[in-house]
Symmetry: C2
Subunit: 347 residues, 2 copies
Amino acid sequence: MLPDEVMQTAQRELCEYAGLRASVMEISHRGEDFLYIRRETESLLRALMEIPSHYWVLFLSGGATGQAAAVPMNLTAAADARAAYVITGHWSRRAAAEAQKYCVVHVAADTAASRHTVLPHSLDIPADVAYAHIASNETIHGVEFPAAPAVSVPLVADMSSNILSRQMRVADYALIYASAQKNLGPSGITVVIVRPDAVCPRAQTPAVWDYRRQQEEESMYNTPPTFQLYMMGLYLKWVKRRGGVEAMERQNREKAALIYDCLDKSDFYKTPVKGDCRSIINIPFTLPTDTLTASFLQGAEKQGLLGLKGHRALGGCRASMYNAMPVAGAQALANYLSEFERVANRK
Amino acid sequence: MLPDEVMQTAQRELCEYAGLRASVMEISHRGEDFLYIRRETESLLRALMEIPSHYWVLFLSGGATGQAAAVPMNLTAAADARAAYVITGHWSRRAAAEAQKYCVVHVAADTAASRHTVLPHSLDIPADVAYAHIASNETIHGVEFPAAPAVSVPLVADMSSNILSRQMRVADYALIYASAQKNLGPSGITVVIVRPDAVCPRAQTPAVWDYRRQQEEESMYNTPPTFQLYMMGLYLKWVKRRGGVEAMERQNREKAALIYDCLDKSDFYKTPVKGDCRSIINIPFTLPTDTLTASFLQGAEKQGLLGLKGHRALGGCRASMYNAMPVAGAQALANYLSEFERVANRK
């Protein structure tokens, strides 16, 4: 979901950008006009996230799944290097499986026994690992780290689903990566925020994912996804106008509270995650039967409440409330949840 | 450059696609509506290029520079495998340098001595190489293969700049790759057309570039660049409406003839490439002095003739005439070339 204002600006400017007699998709990525977009987008992201100035900000391709490979390639120079992975759900498990191709993966914790409904009490992180990796929010399981876990090695986080949704201390991380399609813009572009001293790429790193080379070339060693970068710029301006990350967090907490309150006071709905590791972005929940679930989803769609079907890996339902969803959207969903329960219980 | 009709359709549909109350950027890539776009785009490309049905058609990220790494990863199972590279300009040289990270590169020919103004007379391709790689068109040097060179090993071609610009026999190639930003749509998506028997990926291939895995998942192992895929579909429909690749080729030859005729009959302009290896897409040319070049470019821009500046690697000027440029555009450029020469000679 993208904010209406962002979509309307994109639509207005689509055929001709800034009086250039060409679309932003058509202008050269080497020209001054595109370079301005690229630099402005980086400045906005740096300001909104308060990124320390010595960190690199890269715009790459390949999504978070691409970075799952690129991270060990760039942070471990040798194939026998070790890295610690904290498994808290589907995405962190997938990142660990990908990393295994490039380094020795040490599992620091795995919450599979709880079906990924809790965060680990403690992490087993050997001192010799190159880094420790977490997924800061698991979109399918609805588990989110309330803050960066305290570790004594460089911390790497996949923040694809909760970047810009709450205040984060970037200095707690050696590397943050995020694909765009949740809280940054449309799919097809990936942000990497990295502390330069953590980078020691191996010779076999593909040039398009070589952090050092891409930093030297302002992420334009190859043609970047220009339209996505432009859209991200529009999106970041929208976040800024709306009060920045602090305002996003306030609103996201309000939205999440509306839904969790509704689910918690109900015997009809179940939501598996409890306590302060509950995601404020993705809220999985189930209904008593598959028939009720189908009927719930059908009714929701009729009311314009879209995308409530759970991920195919887990089933059930899931409310995803990225920045672009207004509080009114969460309120509408809460009302529908209550109404559907009331009608179902009467039958 | 993208066709006006394509841009207008994209603009009209940007905020709401097909009555779905969401943009094509917002709908789930796992939903039926996006799957329809994805399948239709593949069908259009298969029909337009007459791709043999057993070939895989993949839509990946990372551009042609990404594929420069992905090709050896997918076509050579062992790190000591050999591959032959035909160096005819900037892009094939860069592809060979990237491949060297993953296999032993054998240079089958290098036209550097001619400053890449000719094609090699013969290729030295050992029988034990896994494949031979060419760039079918060199955008900077303006050299294009008139047809697939005859080789007895699997042939791989980077067709980023001339895919769909002329008829190609896909069966002559084991693998064709092309980034989108020339003749397929906006930047940020890459097409790979590959004969399955050529594929033998090594264990360290990143999942997002693993041809076999992506084929199994319809190129959706990770979130694809959905907007680019949609735009490519619009673009391919436009090519089809305009008469397909045959019509594109006829028009491109006409456009190229207009410019080459103008350059050839002049003593003022120089164009370095002669004979049947002249690109019908990218025509590099120079003026007598840097001052005249600057004045030529400035005057061109005033007339709406954009993007004539040569690539930073070579300087000078370059006319790029992708499918979206109408014959009238080439005629306008030819007129401007003649007029500028006439005025300059009078001074």
